[in-house]
Every structure is written in structure tokens, then in C-alpha cells.
């Protein structure tokens, strides 16, 4: 039994890792090797592709821009979602079910045509090409998700804890910050992971709402590719570079993720 499980896991992880390995493999080869010969590992190991990326302008800024708006989005989403999730998990109020479903529907708007109205909206309020514009636009799908996840974790905390705290003379803000939030710490970890994830991978909105000052990394990548034609080595190297922040985030939240997933009934 245990053996089958391990085998399944290993096969699945190999399936996930092989395409990524191939990307790394290509990023470390000069272009003529990529086109010319088929090798399972780089025969003429070179870091040229990476060097070219880092010497060209725009790349470091692109990274920083992406990280800035993703961080803003995550902070705003969590701060707004915490009280809302508390309300959904503890109280019944007029229209609560409809509101919850309405929040979810915002994930369903096909981005393609909403791009133009988004552009107009943010331009008319003077936020076009700022980090906060992308962060706010991404709230559209990260906040509903954060509310959804946090509500699950909060419902797992017995209501007696709230009542005991009030009986002990805690005010609501003190109770919420010093007792309740530590209890759902892992849930917050999971929510942070999902907010970061959906904001980091989103391309269409981020591309529409920025031009120069807040241009995200994935756009920098597509632009420099189209400028030089199909440059496989550089494309692969750029791809590898976009994987790194994601990998770092998972590494930092891994314990929360493991514990959060162990506690939560998402």
C-alpha cells in the first residue's frame, strides 16, 4: 500500500518536474546547440543567456514592479478579507448568501473585454501605470478567494472562544488582534499563498494597466522576445527567472502551508 502511494507520488512529481528541467536545460545552452543538436543535458554549459538578460535594461525594474504590486495586493486583500470572513463565519445578516456568491462571480468575468473598461476607469482616476492600479485590479479575484479561505478556517474555531474572551473583558479589537488572529495564523498563511499566486501569474490585467513605470516582469519578457525574434535560449532563461520568486514564496510559507492544510477545513 505504502509502496504504491510512494510510486504514484514519484511519478506525479516527475511529470511536474521534467518540463521545468527541460526549460532549465535549454536556458543553459547557446542557441546553435538548441537548434542544432538534441541533448538531454547542456554540453556547452553557458550562462550567456542570463548575462544578456541582466545587462539589458528593464529586467531588474520589471522584477521589482511585479513584486511591488503583488505584495500590495496581498496586504490589501488580507486586511480587507479578515473582518469580512469573520462576519461571514459568525453572523447571519440580510443578504449574506447573495453577497458571498456575488463576490465569487467576480472571478468569472472574462478578462478579454473588460480590459478596455478597466483601462478607461484607471486612467480617469489617474492611477494608470501605477503599482496600486494593478494591485487594486487584482483584488477583484484575490479578495473573494481570501474571504472564502479565511471563512473556512474561522469557522473551525469554536465560538466559545469569542464568548470567553468577551466575558474576560476583552474589547473586540483586542480580542481579534491578540487572540483570534494567532489562532488562524496558518489559515492566513494559506490565504497569503493563494493571493500571491493569482496576482503573480496574472498577465492580461497587469499588461493593460501599465506602460513604463510599473511594467511587470512577464511583459518585459514578452516584449524583448518579440524584439529579437524567437531566441529560444533567452526565452528559456527568462522563463527560469520568473519561476524564482514563486519558488521562494513557497519555500517561506511551506511550514504554514503544511500546518495550515493540516488544520483547516478550507
Amino acid at each position: 500500500m505504502q509502496k504504491t502511494k510512494t510510486t504514484v507520488m514519484i511519478v506525479y512529481i516527475l511529470f511536474l518536474m521534467i518540463p521545468i528541467y527541460w526549460l532549465i536545460n535549454m536556458s543553459l545552452q547557446p542557441n546553435r546547440d538548441i537548434i542544432g543538436s538534441f541533448t538531454l543535458y547542456p554540453q556547452n554549459l553557458t550562462f550567456d543567456n542570463y548575462r544578456r538578460i541582466f545587462t539589458e535594461s528593464g529586467w531588474a525594474a520589471g522584477y521589482l514592479n511585479s513584486l511591488t504590486y503583488v505584495t500590495m495586493n496581498t496586504v490589501i486583500s488580507i486586511l480587507a478579507a479578515l473582518p469580512a470572513a469573520y462576519a461571514f463565519s459568525r453572523y447571519r445578516f440580510i443578504g449574506d448568501k447573495h453577497l458571498f456568491f456575488w463576490l465569487l462571480t467576480n472571478r468569472m468575468a472574462p478578462p478579454a473585454v473588460f480590459l478596455l473598461p478597466f483601462f478607461n476607469l484607471y486612467q480617469s482616476v489617474g492611477l494608470f501605470d501605477t503599482h496600486i492600479a494593478v494591485a487594486l485590479a487584482h483584488c477583484l479575484f484575490s479578495i473573494p478567494l481570501a474571504v472564502w479561505i479565511l471563512e473556512g478556517f474561522m469557522s473551525g474555531v469554536p465560538k466559545e472562544i469569542d464568548e470567553t474572551a468577551y466575558a474576560d473583558g476583552y474589547s473586540f479589537p483586542r480580542f481579534f488582534i491578540f487572540i483570534f488572529i494567532p489562532l488562524i495564523r496558518s489559515g492566513i498563511g494559506v490565504a497569503v499563498f493563494f493571493c500571491f499566486m493569482f496576482s503573480w501569474v496574472e498577465l492580461l490585467l497587469a499588461r493593460t494597466l501599465t506602460s513604463v513605470d510599473a511594467r511587470p516582469i512577464s511583459v518585459v519578457m514578452t516584449r524583448s522576445i518579440s524584439a529579437t525574434g524567437v531566441d529560444w535560449g533567452m526565452l528559456a532563461a527568462a522563463g527560469v527567472l520568473t519561476l524564482i520568486p514563486g519558488a521562494l514564496v513557497i519555500y517561506f510559507v511551506r511550514n504554514h502551508l503544511a500546518r495550515g492544510f493540516a488544520l483547516g477545513r478550507v
Binding site: 504514484v8 507520488m9 506525479y12 462571480t105 467576480n106 473585454v113 485590479a137 522563463g239 483547516g264
Partner: protein, 287 residues
């Protein structure tokens, strides 16, 4: 949990409401506005009423794209949900391997969507990609830029690669939340592995499965960047799904009115199907 009636709870929801409404309602109204007009340029526009809607509902190309989209989305669900549950059941439950597998499993989720397309392009090309070269070496003719089936299956494989981990993570969290007492009770009753899965694990997974099914349905129904990078919608229109059809209409042909009417219909389709999923699954838990 029994929740107390308290309408002041709206105050807690207010920040979320304001933030989401800002980005949701104004653009939505703008789209509604476009959808009843013929926009020629920024200053010239005519009111055309429901003409766009009638035209779109009769468009055979759109019907074809919608059909392809439905087949694709349901294939995605049919593969990823069972696979995700199976993998979640196989995940280690304690020890250092938990963190390691979680990190590895979560990695594809954090790849930007256009990079997912790039990865699979490099991986599947029949001249330089590992997958393409291997399949052709095995004597299977494979070229995703030419074969219809090859293209469609490559896009599906890419989506499985990209998103199954989401189902795995959600189901894993659901499984970890089942108290040991349930398993002990099942063991005393002499339940088989299948019976444990069917009557202990699966019922407790409905909550997370609702989220998983809904998220996967919505996102696969709006899939855009990945097939756009990988196949560009081809060969022919085999992998031109709704989003791409819509973008071509809005951007390339600059047919804003038509595209707006289309995206509202698109939105309503997603809304309707999600609502059906939502009610069916939540109702089945409250027997």
C-alpha cells in the same frame, strides 16, 4: 455552527464590498453600455439596441467555439478532479517529506501563465522538445502545430500539468481535517479501503471539492494565455477557445460593441454553470 443574526456585520464586509465594487461594477456597466452601441471611434457611436446580441446568438463560429470550450472544460474537470483526489490520497502525512512534496507539487501553480505556454512550447516541439522528440522516436507521429489531436491533447496535458496541483492541495487540506476517530470507527466496522473512501473521506471532501470544481471550471472556461502562446489557437481553430475568439474580435477587429455583447453572454454562461455546480454540490452535503 449556528450563527447569530446581526445586521451590523455589514460593517465588517464594507471594505471588501468597496474594493471589489470599484473594480467590478463600473467596468461591468461600461461593457453593458458598449454592448448596445456601434462604436466607430472615440466620438462616433450609434445606439443599436439588442442587435449585437441577436447577431452573436446566431453566429455559427461562436457556436463552434462554445462547443470546443465546453468539451475542453469538462475534459479538464474529468481528468483533474479524480487525479487530484488520487494524488492527495497518496501525499505523505507526516515527516520531512510533507514540506518537500508540498513545495514541489505547488511549483507549477506559481509559474506565470504565459511562461507555462513557453515551457510547454519548448518541451513539446517536435524538433527540439524532449516530449516531441521522444514521441517521434517511439514511432508516434507527433507535431502539435500540425495535428489537430496532437494540439488539443497537448493543451489538455499542459492544463493538467499546470492545475492538477490546485486540486491536490485543496483535497489534501480536506483530508488532513478528518479526525482520526472516523478512521477508527471504520476499522472497527471492518470497512474496506473503498468503503472508507466512499463513506468517510469523500463526504468530508465535498467542501473543498466545491471550491476545486468551481475554480477549475471558471479558470479553464476563461483559459487564454497558455494556448495562445503554445498553439496560437491552431491548427485551424482546434484550440481557439472562447477567450481567444473574444480577444480577436475586440482587439484585432476592434469590434467593441459585438465583443461587449459577447462577453456579457460569456459571463452569463459561466455564472449559470457555476451556480448549478454550487447548488448541486452544497445541496448534496445538506441531506
Amino acid at each position: 455552527m449556528d450563527r447569530t443574526q446581526n445586521n451590523y456585520a455589514w460593517l465588517f464586509v464594507l471594505p471588501v464590498l468597496v474594493l471589489v465594487a470599484f473594480s467590478a461594477i463600473i467596468p461591468l456597466m461600461t461593457v453593458v453600455n458598449y454592448s448596445v452601441q456601434d462604436v466607430l471611434d472615440a466620438n462616433t457611436r450609434f445606439f443599436v439596441g439588442d442587435e449585437w446580441y441577436r447577431e452573436i446568438l446566431r453566429d455559427p463560429q461562436l457556436h463552434a467555439a462554445l462547443g470546443r470550450q465546453l468539451v475542453f472544460s469538462f475534459s479538464v474537470l474529468a481528468v483533474q478532479i479524480p487525479l487530484g483526489i488520487a494524488i492527495a490520497l497518496c501525499m505523505p502525512t507526516r515527516g520531512i517529506w510533507v514540506a518537500v512534496t508540498l513545495v514541489l507539487v505547488a511549483l507549477p501553480l506559481l509559474v506565470p501563465w504565459n511562461v507555462v505556454g513557453t515551457i510547454w512550447q519548448l518541451f513539446a516541439r517536435s524538433d527540439i522538445g524532449l516530449l516531441g522528440v521522444t514521441l517521434n522516436g517511439l514511432g508516434i507521429e507527433y507535431n502539435y502545430t500540425r495535428g489537430r489531436w496532437a494540439a488539443w491533447l497537448t493543451v489538455l496535458a499542459m492544463d493538467v500539468w499546470h492545475w492538477t496541483s490546485l486540486v491536490v492541495l485543496l483535497c489534501y487540506s480536506g483530508l488532513r481535517a478528518i479526525p482520526d476517530a472516523y478512521y477508527q470507527a471504520a476499522r472497527i466496522d471492518g470497512a474496506s479501503r473503498w468503503a472508507v473512501f466512499r463513506h468517510v473521506q469523500l463526504p468530508r471532501l465535498t467542501g473543498v471539492l466545491t471550491i476545486a470544481v468551481l475554480l477549475r471550471f471558471m479558470d479553464s472556461f476563461m483559459i487564454y494565455a497558455e494556448p495562445f502562446v503554445l498553439t496560437g489557437g491552431g491548427p485551424g481553430s482546434t484550440t481557439t477557445f472562447l477567450s481567444q475568439f473574444l480577444t480577436t474580435m475586440a482587439v484585432a477587429q476592434f469590434d467593441i460593441g459585438r465583443a461587449a455583447a459577447f462577453s456579457l453572454i460569456y459571463f452569463l454562461i459561466i455564472l449559470a454553470i457555476s451556480w448549478v455546480f454550487y447548488t448541486v454540490i452544497t445541496r448534496s452535503t445538506k441531506i
